[in-house]
């Protein structure tokens, strides 16, 4: 094996926790104030590092939930068997400190100049980086049209529900609920499939740009479905976070 020295170009720093806001019963948005933050692009990540008293270290990568220029924030789903998320979405309070580094990533990012129209497909907490893109689109007064399809277990599990319910100029948000639905639900139900994608995604002839984030099975189905509809594979950007939504 080849050995390389750690470059240290991406330094760890200690950020103050500004606020912790619950989005659902198990998902919290954590606003952070790092001392040295050069700014980020919509869709990028940051790494979080927790160090136990015995020196055990656990690191995880989280999508940044805020848009460029806003107070830095991540949105974390608590996984009961997780090493990091139960602390972040459960123990952490405003005024605490959190070790992080970033921004990270150059693939799953969107800038207004990248164009669109945007087809955004979210499975569960995969909505987080797409929310950053939607906010960035509004904040920059971008005229790129956008459609978001958000697949969620139930209505009570929808993250950013109030925010997404407000109309963004030219952005259409639709939902499909896979497990439970509230009384009177008239939206889509069941897992994402070709017929649903054909209905909600921009037609391929409009030269759309797609971002898909969610559990691996969701992303694979959604990406294959868009390619089937005629999207060129290089216009379909994907991000997978495992089988159960672990982030």
């Amino acid at each position: 094996m080849e050995r390389t020295a750690v470059s240290g170009r991406l330094s760890w720093q200690v950020a103050a926790v500004v606020s912790v806001t619950w989005e659902t019963a198990s998902v919290a948005t954590i606003q952070l104030d790092p001392p040295d933050w050069a700014g980020h692009r919509a869709g990028q990540h940051l790494d979080v590092r927790l160090t136990a008293e015995d020196g055990y270290v656990a690191e995880r990568s989280y999508s940044i939930a805020s848009a460029p220029g806003e107070q830095l924030a991540i949105t974390v789903e608590r996984l009961e068997d997780g090493e990091v998320s139960p602390y972040l979405a459960g123990e952490l309070r405003a005024g605490d400190e959190l070790e992080l580094r970033g921004p990270i990533g150059g693939y799953f990012v969107w800038e207004p100049g990248d164009g669109g129209p945007l087809t955004l497909l979210a499975g569960g907490s995969g909505v987080v980086p797409l929310r950053s893109m939607l906010r960035h689109r509004v904040n920059t007064a971008s005229d790129v049209p956008a459609r978001l399809l958000y697949s969620s277990r139930g209505w009570e599990d929808v993250i950013y529900r109030d925010e997404l319910g407000q109309h963004h100029d030219g952005a259409r948000v639709s939902y499909t609920l896979t497990r439970s639905r509230p009384p009177g639900w008239t939206g889509h139900t069941g897992r994402i499939n070709s017929a649903l994608l054909a209905e909600v995604a921009w037609p391929a002839k409009t030269n759309p740009l797609a971002y898909i984030c969610g559990p691996t099975s969701f992303v694979e189905t959604a990406a294959a479905g868009l390619v089937e509809l005629g999207y060129p594979p290089e216009r379909v950007k994907t991000e997978r976070f495992g089988a159960t939504g672990g982030r």
Binding site: R3, A5, V6, E59, S61, Y107, T238, R240, F241, G246
Partner: protein
Amino acid sequence: MDPIDGNGIGGLLIDAFGKEMTAVSSTCATCGARRPVAELVVYQRAPGTVVRCRTCGNVVMMLVKRGDSIDVDLSGLASLGQPDEDA
């Protein structure tokens, strides 16, 4: 732990290579499949990270932290280029 994809190890790759790598194109030495590092399959099991081809499943990269350095095995890759070299 379930596999993630290359987007989730952007920080580790900066540690190893000194720069952003997720948008860089990779070519599998076994099957020739070409895709951005972000699209590769990633298994994170302490102490190492194993990266596999999404087409054929063969190991394309292994990264193991040792103190303040990282052992990097890229023998499963035929190429690891810059995105603008794809044109």
